[in-house]
Symmetry: C2
Subunit: 222 residues, 2 copies
């Protein structure tokens, strides 16, 4: 157990819900693990890692069809804990998702057995886990409604505005391919719509970067 | 408070989780209400009814887009409680769904204030509510995966097989319109595919009724 792992454990969002004994148990049964960009973290028949929290980097949580079609459900970023890796954690969830790293990513992993035992014994932790899963439920429903109901121009505009609001920067360092994965579309479709947005003065597109030049214009599409 | 309402309260799936005082409170703050086929139970700017349990009939829970497009999430039948009427019940759920009766339906309704208070004070009830919502999450994901990933013939076959397994009868008393609403498609599309299934000897179609004549054949499509 490194000093760094111990320190990161103390920053787990649920740390203060743990008893002293549980804190010790978590500290002793956690480890850090690095994943490279694109690497699969969960799914595809792998064993469940345990309770995962993002230390740096970014995870993408998505559905994968038998034919290889992907639908991105939500992203997890620095400090965010994951419970949807987690038909293994939550028995009520009978579906399974895939999780992969979208960039080089470091994860703090609390072993599955320890996390399950604590969630069973500590009601506050059980409630915490459920609440987290229900928040993800809301995120997933938001995503689904966009995919099912929004025309593609609005879906892309919504994504660009969301990213702007999240990062505070009008410059998105993403390829068309990456954007397509995030909004569950195809590279060509994203490229075509960005060209239209560009002609309308809403964005400027460079290699590996999109600059939002008219954020209010993009918002007006929503 | 009628004797019948009191008796129905005692059959609520969470009745045994309540304290004596809470049982009394629920009994005194519940009522029965009838909805006619097609009537809206929740959504469309209506006030939240409270915690709803189906006594007879059937409810359909669905998403509604700004343009009026509907996506059916799941059905609720006799004895089944609903918590997704429930950005009002569960603050973690930030999305909202519509609920309407698909046939003449009687509901037992526990007043919102009482149900919320009990869920706050009684941890078992809170856990119960969360677990119920997470089960619905799984149902919704199952539905979404079908809509997003399955070709239409497989989606229709899956629906027919599910209904057969649920009711135990190879005769479905539903119109093409009703089937379309359930699998979030259009009447014409359902009619066309049933005609194809019929030509393949999988079903026989009569006015307001589909007879499954080759259930193994339908299963082989899945």
């Amino acid at each position: 157990m490194s000093v760094r792992t111990e320190e990161l454990c103390r920053r787990l969002p649920y740390w203060e819900l743990l008893t002293e004994k549980e804190k010790k148990l978590v500290s002793e049964n956690s480890y850090l693990r690095r994943f490279t960009s694109g690497e699969l973290v969960h799914g595809g028949g792998r064993d469940c890692l345990g309770q995962v929290t993002v230390i740096s980097g970014e995870l993408r949580n998505y559905l994968l069809s038998d034919e290889g079609k992907e639908v991105t459900l939500f992203m997890l970023r620095r400090g965010e804990p994951c419970v949807l890796s987690s038909s293994c954690i939550l028995s009520q969830l009978t579906f399974d998702t895939q999780i992969s790293a979208t960039e080089d990513t470091e994860l703090l992993i609390v072993s599955l057995g320890v996390f399950q035992r604590i969630s069973e014994e500590n009601t506050d932790m059980k409630l915490y886990t459920y609440e987290l899963a229900l928040e993800r439920f809301s995120q997933v429903m938001e995503t689904m409604q966009r995919i099912l109901f929004l025309s593609f121009d609005r879906r892309l505009a919504a994504f660009l505005v969301d990213e702007y609001e999240r990062t505070g920067s009008p410059e998105l360092r993403m390829t068309h391919e990456q954007i397509a994965a995030r909004i569950s579309s195809a590279r060509e479709v994203v490229a075509r719509m960005l060209k239209r947005f560009s002609a309308e003065g809403l964005v400027e597109s460079e290699r590996g970067m999109i600059r939002l030049t008219d954020i209010e214009g993009l918002r007006s599409l929503l």
